[in-house]
């Protein structure tokens, strides 16, 4: 590293930098850690592909690779959106679901079943359904951002609070409508409201994948700005970040990713909390260049591992989202208690 100094009295750096490089443990390098996670993901994919193949291997591989792709797309959407959301809100025990995303998705589906019946819900063209859900969810979030953050008030906290209130409102409205549903319709609806990653619709998967990849590409030039946002709004502004514009852009990116992946597999945001917090402690750095990919890979491990455990241990006697949300709830409690103790 650099030892040249302009000031004559500033001959310091070598000692401390020397200490840094004299601990050459590979483990300390975020890149090595990330690589290791990548191998774990590849290993899990291999295990998932080749265990218990009932008939033709080619057929099994085709079906299973779709599921794996869906998992990777969802892990990316959930991981990236949660980490970015944490940075924007300066709070690490939130998930974007606090804005009422999940609740809104369930409400949309309930409204469809309520007015058109379960048969039309099941028979509806999945593409139309997906587009409607994505557009309505993105429109909702854009409305919330521009109303509460884009205007004169410009408060993230107010926006979160309104999001919580709206989420509760959506949930009670949903419950009220569901009570008046035909039991059969209700059955169909509640089945559809558990996230399901197996056997996704190919075209929807491709569309969601494209949206998620585009959103990720939009995040890349903002990676270093995201690091600065960790310091909080006042310091970020002092360092020349156009806070309002950057945060608005990030919110849009987050909502597109969430809307697309929720419309693909169902409500699954809660698991972002585990993924993001595991990623922070595993990556060992605040830099988004490392935390974001780490979150994606950990998300993929959770989904793949969860699915394997579900299939092998419980013989599919449950749903993946239930398993993950149970683990997520416990982890959330642990986080809150540990924060309180500190």
């Amino acid at each position: 590293m650099l030892t040249k100094t302009m000031n004559s009295d500033a001959t310091e750096a070598p000692e401390t930098t020397g200490w840094r490089s004299s601990v050459p443990t590979l483990w300390a390098k975020p890149g090595i850690r990330l690589l290791l996670l990548g191998f774990v993901v590849l290993g899990l994919i291999a295990v998932y592909f080749f265990t218990d193949v009932p008939g033709s291997l080619a057929f099994a591989l085709k079906i299973r690779s779709l599921t794996v792709l869906a998992m990777i797309v969802v892990a990316t959407a959930v991981g990236v959106s949660t980490v970015v959301f944490h940075t924007i809100t300066q709070n690490r025990i939130l998930t974007p679901s606090i804005m009422g995303f999940d609740a809104f998705y369930v409400l949309i589906s309930t409204i469809i079943v309520f007015f058109f019946g379960a048969t039309s819900f099941l028979r509806a063209d999945p593409l139309t359904l997906w587009i409607v859900q994505v557009v309505v969810m993105v429109a909702f979030s854009v409305f919330l951002f521009t109303w509460l953050f884009g205007g004169k008030r410009r408060s993230i906290h107010l926006m979160l609070l309104v999001g919580i209130v709206l989420g509760t409102f959506f949930r009670s409205l949903t419950e009220w409508m569901q009570r008046m549903l035909d039991p059969l319709d209700f059955q169909v609806l509640s089945d559809a409201m558990f996230a399901s990653l197996t056997r996704p619709n190919e075209m929807l998967l491709a569309l969601t994948g494209v949206l998620v990849v585009l959103a990720c590409l939009a995040v890349v030039p903002l990676l270093r700005t995201l690091d600065v946002l960790t310091l909080g709004e006042p310091t970020a502004v002092g360092l020349g970040v156009n806070h309002k514009r950057v945060v608005m852009a990030l919110f849009m990116i987050v909502s597109v990713m969430i809307a697309a992946s929720t419309a693909l597999v169902g409500p699954i945001l809660f698991f972002g909390l585990i993924v993001a917090n595991l990623a922070y402690s595993y990556a060992g750095t605040f830099r988004h260049v490392w935390t974001l990919p780490t979150a994606i890979l950990i998300g993929a491990i959770c989904l793949l591992g969860g699915q394997l455990v579900l299939e092998q241990v419980f013989a599919l006697g449950g749903s993946l989202s239930m398993t993950i949300e149970f683990a997520g709830g416990l982890f959330f409690l642990y986080l809150v208690l540990r924060k309180g103790a500190r």
Binding site: A10, A13, T235, Y280
Partner: protein, 252 residues
């Protein structure tokens, strides 16, 4: 020069700044004093583009704060706020590195690294370079934040109550440091202080605010008079001369 003209700011009907016009920049160290709620932090917020004034303009070296690019301003003017809570765990080096963001946008060059090393050296932070901020004492933390502002390499440095929660020794250290930054590096420092004796000892100019207005603006000797200070703070202040320097006694 930082030139404020006709700045007015209201919150829900309460006027926090009343048509404030003032220029900073000729003196090395300017102290901003005044009772709580006088509008000092709001004034800093307006200059540091965190708060938008209802009327009036702020021009920093020819750049209008409202319209100029945020990154251009960040290379001219640095602001250190009162409370600096950070959610993530950063080391001192990480924090100081952020000071270079307006220049490098995160891709550090040799020049950037040089600035970082010099700032860390200037604040005697070498032993703590790789320590996390939450492992430091209050004084060390404050120095780390000042090092970040120093690495930002701006002509103007605004500090909002940098002596908060510091003990006697660290308060004196920080004030000496600000004086040095001004004398050796040519920085123009504007600092909000509550201890008027520190203001009198270390600053070239004292600006006193009260109720959103500037009520006094002069050299330390002219401000350190009983009638001036009593008018600013609305409380009894005795000023004595000790070793040829005015000292205010307001403890009784």
């Amino acid at each position: 020069m930082i030139v404020l003209e006709g700045i007015t700011k209201r919150y829900n009907g309460t006027t926090v700044l009343k048509d404030v016009s003032i220029a900073f920049g000729d003196e090395g160290v300017t102290a901003l004093i005044g009772p709580n709620g006088a509008g000092k932090s709001t004034l800093f917020g307006v200059v540091g583009r965190l708060i938008r004034a209802d009327t009036g303009t702020v021009v920093v070296d020819g750049m209008n704060v409202e319209t100029a690019a945020s990154s251009d301003l960040a290379r001219t003017l640095a602001v250190l706020r009162q409370d600096n809570h950070i959610a993530a765990r950063l080391t001192v080096h990480d924090l100081v590195e952020f000071g270079r963001f307006p220049h490098s946008k995160g891709r550090l060059t040799l020049v950037d690294r040089d600035h970082i090393n010099r700032a860390i050296h200037y604040l005697d932070l070498e032993p703590f370079r790789d320590r996390f901020l939450d492992e430091l004492s209050g004084g060390q933390r404050q120095r780390a934040f000042i090092a970040m502002v120093l690495a930002q390499d701006t002509k103007y440095v605004l500090l909002d109550e940098p002596l908060n929660n510091l003990d006697l020794r660290h308060m004196t250290e920080i004030m000496k440091l600000l004086r040095r930054m001004s004398d050796e590096l040519g920085k123009r420092i504007i600092v909000v202080l509550h201890d008027i004796n520190f203001a009198a000892t270390y600053s070239d100019r004292i600006v006193a605010m009260r109720d959103g207005e500037i009520v006094a603006d002069a050299s330390a000797h002219e401000i350190m008079r009983e009638e001036v200070l009593e008018a600013v703070y609305d409380t009894k202040v005795d000023v004595h001369t000790i070793d040829g320097k005015p000292v205010a006694l307001y403890y009784r």
